[in-house]
């Protein structure tokens, strides 16, 4: 009986190693974000579908065994952009996401009600053209704010990367160099600059001018990955390094992020407290 149980356990672990993890994302729109999106002929539903598809496509092409799905769409949350200024003045991981969520007008309740893993807030704060993430901190919540001005690129995918433990480039970028080594020392974005080529991956920013002229920096819609490369006319160029392997980070953390939802947490607790002991008893007998 014990051998059968061990075999079953081994099969379970083996099969889950490359399993596709589904991460549920709840999309919340501020009135300003919704209005901006509608001003150029899009709707919350079409934007959400596009963001889900873009992120999943990037995951697939980068080699990340995860996908996201919409946990729902809620319009007109909060009461204006001003309310998002306060939480956004926090350092990225300086304040617990759960704490921020508890102060944020029902965001935490919406997260729980939708059985979501990540909450994405689509806003349109004037002058702010970037997203914010409070990810990789909360015990079961992660919050992403993405400015609607950049929603048509890869901002939401970038912020989801943060919630899964990925960081910006470690040095040399135009903004927000990030030397952190947690949760993984290799969890940084990648950038490259030479006379012929200037490019950066999704978690990185355009490379700074280090004396090499660069007329136009290109964002490659991939997470950094030393196992992938760019095949150009004049050679093969890297998409990662020993310090830039976002793909490994996201594959490491996908299961944890995919269980931020309340239902998963409850199931886990039920398993640990009820089913686990029952199985143990059965096997030992």
């Amino acid at each position: 009986m014990i051998r059968v149980a061990l075999l079953f356990f081994a099969l379970l672990v083996g099969s889950s190693a490359h399993a596709i993890t589904t991460i549920r994302v709840l999309f919340l729109f501020t009135p300003e974000g919704k209005a901006y999106i509608e001003s150029f002929g899009q709707t919350m539903a079409s934007i959400t579908a596009q963001e889900v598809a873009k992120t999943n496509n990037t995951f697939f092409l980068s080699g990340i065994d995860a996908q996201i799905e919409s946990a729902g769409i809620i319009p007109n949350i909060c009461c204006g952009n001003a309310n998002f200024l306060l939480p956004w003045t926090m350092t990225e991981e300086g304040t617990d996401a759960l704490d921020w969520a508890s102060k944020s007008l029902g965001v935490a309740q919406a997260h729980d009600a939708a059985n979501a893993d990540i909450v994405m807030i689509i806003s349109n704060y004037p002058g702010d053209i970037s997203g914010r993430s409070f990810g990789w901190k909360g015990p079961y919540k992660a919050i992403v704010g993405v400015d609607a001005l950049v929603i048509d690129e890869y901002a939401s995918t970038h912020e989801i990367g943060h919630t899964m433990g990925a960081h910006h480039q470690s040095s040399g970028g135009q903004w927000f160099n990030d030397g952190r080594s947690t949760p993984y020392i290799y969890g940084h974005g990648f950038w490259y600059r030479s006379a012929a080529h200037c490019y950066h991956t999704i978690m990185s920013s355009p490379s700074a001018d280090n004396g090499v002229p660069c007329s136009s920096d290109v964002e490659i819609s991939r997470f950094s990955n030393p196992a992938q490369a760019i095949y150009a006319n004049d050679g093969v160029f890297p998409l990662g390094s020993s310090l830039a392997n976002n793909v490994q980070v996201l594959n490491n953390t996908k299961s944890q992020v995919g269980s931020y939802r309340v239902a998963s947490w409850m199931k886990r607790q039920v398993f640990i407290t009820v089913i686990g002991p029952m199985l143990t008893t059965l096997i030992l007998e």
């Binding site: 150029f40 002929g41 899009q42 709707t43 539903a45 079409s46 934007i47 959400t48 579908a49 596009q50 889900v52 598809a53 873009k54 999943n56 496509n57 092409l61 080699g63 799905e69 919409s70 769409i73 048509d152 690129e153 012929a196 080529h197 490019y199 136009s216 290109v218 964002e219 490659i220 819609s221 991939r222 196992a227 992938q228 490369a229 760019i230 095949y231 150009a232 006319n233 998409l239």
Partner: protein
């Protein structure tokens, strides 16, 4: 009949025929089928709406291939439809490392085309008009692809 009258009569006949032909050329525009055909033909001539028309055709025909030319380079995206959000349909296709993501909701299309080095965004302008814009100018010819 004097020659000059003959010439005048001939001219009248020719002018009448030309007027009639012109009317006939214009007339089909009033029929629904010709209007649709003419509209699509006109749209296809506009680079920024080419993708919208091709995408609409792909949805209508349940096609799994969308062929478009972007910046002088031909792409042949192969993909399929999914329902990612209720009330919408999203077509996701790839051509090597390039990708096309087109969403349709209530007949309105929106799209995102990434040629690895350049991103095009298709947005609805009202009616049958669409805009194809690229947010960040990026050299597209430099990169041949990203591979594992």
């Amino acid at each position: 009949m004097k020659p000059r009258y003959l010439i005048a009569a001939s001219m009248a006949v020719l002018c009448g025929a030309a007027w009639s032909q012109a009317t006939l050329l214009g007339a089909p525009a009033k029929t629904p089928a010709a209007t649709e055909s003419g509209r699509l033909a006109a749209l296809r001539k506009e680079p920024h709406t080419q993708l919208a028309v091709v995408a609409a055709d792909a949805f209508a025909l349940e096609s799994n291939i969308i062929s478009v030319d972007l910046d002088g380079k031909s792409f042949r995206f192969v993909g399929s439809k999914q329902t990612l959000v209720p009330g919408t349909e999203t077509w996701i296709g790839r051509d090597g490392d390039a990708s096309a993501i087109i969403t349709r909701e209530n007949g309105i299309l929106s799209g995102h085309f990434d040629t690895v080095g350049k991103v095009y965004v298709l947005t609805h302008l009202g009616g049958a008009r669409y805009a194809l814009r690229t947010k960040v100018p990026r050299p597209v010819a430099t990169y041949e692809g990203v591979g594992k």
